[in-house]
Symmetry: C2
Subunit: 212 residues, 2 copies
């Protein structure tokens, strides 16, 4: 079960709430980037960034010089992952909506100091974007590791919202001669584009070619 704190309990749109921890994992594991919210000088800052999950911990990374990453360890943060699945076209403007799956995680992030966890966190972030790559690429040098901060955020306080399905119009509007339904949004991988400086003879590996 997910947490039941005030801010993770939906007041409106209750029917969209999912309360099982596996729903949270599903939204996170299917994502590529998150939006990290931090407070910098009293104002919110929302940064698109990579992430990875290991069990009930979310890992984020960034330059050790980034003010947003520094703020993330001293102030509370919010991480949101959103999948937009389609546009819901209703008979009335008011009932237009979107189909989506989203997760919001609240808490205080911890700067990872332990060298093993630091590397595990970076691996999780890399593998979330590019599964299979960690085992074939040059791994980080000591200098690169020192330049990369890793934040850990517990998944303890989280909420999941999902909307799927057709529009919900007012009963008296169903007879209007207006087309209604869902326009699905599809996300797919394109053909891999080789680096112009690729060493001749190096072919696209199976874990990239077969993705999706």
């Amino acid at each position: 079960m997910l947490s039941t704190t005030a801010r993770t309990t939906l007041n409106r749109g209750k029917e969209r709430a999912r309360t099982d921890r596996t729903d949270l994992y599903a939204v996170l594991d299917a994502g590529l980037i998150c939006h990290l919210g931090v407070i910098v000088d009293g104002a919110p800052m929302v940064i698109p960034t990579g992430y990875g999950r290991i069990g009930d911990t979310l890992y984020l990374h960034g330059s050790t010089g980034a003010s947003s990453l520094r703020a993330g360890t001293t102030e509370p943060v919010c991480v949101t992952v959103t999948h937009l699945d389609g546009i819901v076209l209703a008979r009335s403007a008011f009932h237009h909506s979107v189909n989506y799956r989203s997760a919001m995680i609240y808490g205080r992030a911890r700067r990872v100091d332990d060298p093993d966890e630091h590397l595990d966190g970076l691996r999780a972030v890399t593998e979330q974007l590019a599964p299979g790559q960690w085992d074939v690429v040059r791994l980080p040098t000591r200098k690169e590791l020192a330049a990369t901060a890793v934040l850990a955020l517990s998944l303890k306080e989280a909420s999941v919202k999902v909307r799927q399905g057709p529009p919900k119009d007012d009963e008296e509007d169903y007879d209007l001669p207006v087309w209604a339904g869902v326009l699905p949004l599809n996300v797919s991988w394109g053909e891999p584009l080789p680096d112009p400086r690729l060493t001749p003879g190096v072919t696209v590996p199976r874990h990239i070619r077969k993705r999706g």
Copy 2:
């Protein structure tokens, strides 16, 4: 030109900054949802939501009962729109990246009270998600308008970041026998799915069928 405040001036990754206002419009106009960052009880909250642009004003909407919308008019906000265009696969873990276009807008949002601007804002939000719909659907009733808050945010303070193109590896890594390049991410519209309760004989209008 875009603003040059401290938080909109990039310290790292300067080559990714775009400073022309048309770049901001391009990122916003191509988007479907934004991530709105607000401060609620001293903590950030990052909410995926719809938006629309009219000139140099961004409009957001939400239930008048939503604490996030209320917070958006009393505390500073940040709105981020992100397009993820591909995964950048480098020869080293460190240089893995993503191709993207993103815009961040900072400021204080204003609750729209003027009835004409309120309706214009709602129209902009609806048309951003579903262009052409406003002219064919049932428009909001007085009661629906009263239930929907519209926030206006000036585009005065904004930054745009864009990364495109192949990986940038360390010079000594280019000879590694590792495939490198970009795996593009494509977003496309699927076939419109009619509402099961659609009035027989109502066909998909051109503005929906021809989208994309």
